[in-house]
């Protein structure tokens, strides 16, 4: 029997990990309907929508994948070392060890039940991809639909790649985008993964990235969360081996009455790996932000090095933040630290700048930029870094 969205419990505050984000309420208000996969393949060759080709993150030189209103429209690969295709779900379970990523909510079940597209991106052994892979999730329809896509990513041994996902819209559309990623990093591979969330101001974004890491792999994740009415971005790691270097940098930037949630789970299961998380938030007007980060260091995971820090800047009296950094350590020989701070712009710094001739507005701007800069310092793709900085400046002022 076909499932209905009503058959699922939408996450709300009753679930421990959803204490600060009530998705159910938003679904009740909007009643998003799952979009149905059309069987007829379009006959005309696809022409890239102007909104996409004009987007500053679009570069025709890159490998790219385009989704429009939830449907896969185009796959463009520039390298023989890269394979992108639909994945049948039997195969999926063979490749990815989903045991490491069990969920206590229904989002993955919803994704499975109404799946639009299930893609696999494979980077071949020893390949170092020259050009990034950009995935555009573009939306321009207004009829309150729920989109479910899944992207599986495998980096074979010794391979390197950069993937950037860009979620955006014509800013009129109303939808709920529910995306799940599975990433498998084989021995010695390295992935730069940028999640650039610029959804429509009326949209809901929920995504999870689940990463399985093998020996000596490097994962650098950068979350840039600006759009949407409500967003929940999850990163869940499974560190199964030694010498893994796992990094998450994140920025949520809320302008009006938005709600941004970044939730991470770091599972150190094996000795001698490193993880580092640094998440910053800037909140204006009536917006709210959430950071929940849990680091679990298993008994066997000796010599783990885990660091986690969340810093929030409140730019209005009505903005609010809930930060919940957690450490669960069962090993005894580890280096772990975590912390969270929330505050306004520092009066002492503001005065220092004003005493040097900057007016209040200029001083504020410089300090906000400084707050952001720290996070962007070690982004490897310099061109992308410039675009992200530009986008954040536009959002703040």
């Amino acid at each position: 029997m076909e499932k209905l969205i009503e058959d699922f419990q939408i996450p709300d505050k009753k679930i421990e990990t959803w204490k600060f984000t009530d998705l159910k309420k938003v679904q009740e208000k909007n009643n998003f309907r799952p979009s149905v996969k059309s069987d007829s393949t379009p006959t005309n060759p696809y022409k890239i929508n102007l909104d996409i080709s004009n987007n500053i993150f679009f570069d025709p030189k890159n490998n790219f994948i385009i989704f429009e209103n939830g449907y896969l429209k185009k796959i463009n690969t520039k390298s023989d070392d890269l394979e992108i295709k639909s994945l049948d779900s039997n195969l999926e379970n063979k490749i990815f060890n989903k045991k490491n990523f069990t969920r206590k909510d229904s989002l993955l079940d919803i994704n499975s039940a109404f799946l639009n597209e299930n893609l696999i991106i494979k980077v071949k052994k020893n390949a170092k991809l020259k050009n990034p892979i950009s995935i555009f999730y573009y939306n321009c329809e207004e009829e309150k639909y729920l989109i479910n896509n899944r992207i599986n990513i495998i980096l074979e041994e010794n391979s390197e790649a950069e993937i950037n996902e860009i979620f955006f819209s014509n800013n009129k559309s109303i939808y709920w985008n529910n995306v799940h990623n599975y990433v498998c990093l084989k021995k010695n591979s390295k992935l730069q993964h940028y999640k650039i969330q610029l959804e429509s101001k009326n949209a809901i974004h929920s995504s999870s990235t689940n990463i399985d890491c093998e020996n000596s792999s490097i994962y650098n994740n950068f979350i840039f969360s600006i759009g949407g009415n409500m967003s929940r971005i999850e990163v869940i790691s499974s560190i199964n081996s030694a010498d893994i270097n796992f990094n998450i940098k994140g920025l949520y930037l809320a302008k009006t009455n938005q709600h941004h949630d970044i939730t991470t789970l770091m599972q150190h299961k094996h000795p001698e790996s490193k993880s580092n998380q640094h998440i910053k938030g800037i909140l204006q007007k009536d917006s709210s932000g959430v950071f929940q980060g849990k680091v679990i260091v298993a008994q066997d995971a000796q010599k783990t090095d885990a660091f986690q820090f969340n810093q929030n800047l409140l730019l209005s009296e009505t903005a609010e933040v809930n930060a919940k950094p957690e450490l669960e350590i069962y090993a005894d020989d580890v280096k772990c630290s975590h912390g969270a701070t929330t505050g306004e712009l520092d009066e002492g710094m503001l005065f220092y700048l004003r005493s040097r001739g900057l007016n209040k507005e200029e001083a504020r701007k410089l300090l906000i930029e400084g707050f952001i800069n720290e996070l962007f310092d070690d982004i490897e793709n310099k061109e992308l870094k410039k675009k992200l900085l530009l986008t954040s400046k536009k959002t703040i002022y």
Partner: protein, 245 residues
């Protein structure tokens, strides 16, 4: 240049400055000495426009303007500069960006043409060289992780870039090694001219060997209790505050 008349300042209902008078003419160098907690930094902060100081009585005129009518940034624009006793660290803001923004804000206020990147760098390099400040330090975040001496040098660099009419140095000499002390004094002496005045707050006579003051004042319990010429500083060094009061 600066005229302070009958100034009274409270901090959190505590009387800190209690009837202070001071006049500085263009081109003059004044030194203020005084025991810890006598109100020297309080005076400097009030002059620069910092919040949290309650002026209960008195008047301050700076270049014929009522100082209290001016926001801190406008005081800087008019030509007031304070080298802080404890400069703040500003992580994430590069010194380059900061210095360029500040010099151009001030130039705009003074209706001078803003400096473009090339000209700014030229001016900056010249000044930095003069006060022996490493360019690497300027590229870092403002004051962040600087040593005590480096912070003081950074204040002097800002002073020489902003070309103030009245520069107040709050214990800029404290914690400096002898070479750094000479460099700081050089920075001041190099800026000295007929129009520019200095108010130097210090605990040590040794700085005044390099920057010769026209007048020396002793501040105690929020009041100037004694004024004299440079010899007063020498006398103080010998006899201590108790000996001269």
């Amino acid at each position: 240049m600066l005229k302070i008349e009958g100034l009274h300042v409270n901090v959190e209902d505590k009387k800190i400055i209690q009837g202070l008078d001071l006049q500085i003419a263009p081109g003059e160098v004044h030194a203020i000495m005084g025991p810890n907690g006598s109100g020297k930094s309080t005076l400097a902060n009030v002059l620069s426009g910092k919040d949290g100081y309650d002026v209960t009585k008195g008047k301050i005129t700076f270049l014929k303007k009522n100082l209290f009518d001016l926001e801190p940034e406008n005081r800087a624009g008019e030509g007031l500069f304070l080298a802080f006793q404890y400069p703040v660290e500003i992580p994430g803001v590069s010194g380059m960006n900061f210095l360029r923004t500040t010099i151009n804000s001030i130039r705009r206020y003074r209706k001078q043409k803003e400096l473009d990147g090339v000209n700014f760098l030229k001016v900056l390099r010249e000044k930095a060289k003069f006060i022996k400040m490493d360019e690497k330090l300027i590229k870092r975040s403002v004051n962040t992780g600087f040593s005590g001496g480096e912070k003081k040098r950074s204040e002097i660099l800002q002073m020489s870039l902003l070309e103030p009419k009245l520069a107040i140095l709050d214990e800029t000499d404290s914690g400096l090694d002898i070479d750094a002390l000479k460099t700081v004094a050089n920075g001041v002496n190099n800026l000295k001219n007929k129009e520019r005045s200095f108010l130097i707050i210090t605990h040590y006579q040794r700085l005044l060997n390099y920057i010769v003051p026209d007048k020396v004042h002793v501040l105690s319990k929020g009041k100037i209790v004694k004024s004299g010429d440079k010899n007063l500083a020498i006398e103080l060094e010998k006899k201590g505050y108790e000996g001269i009061m």
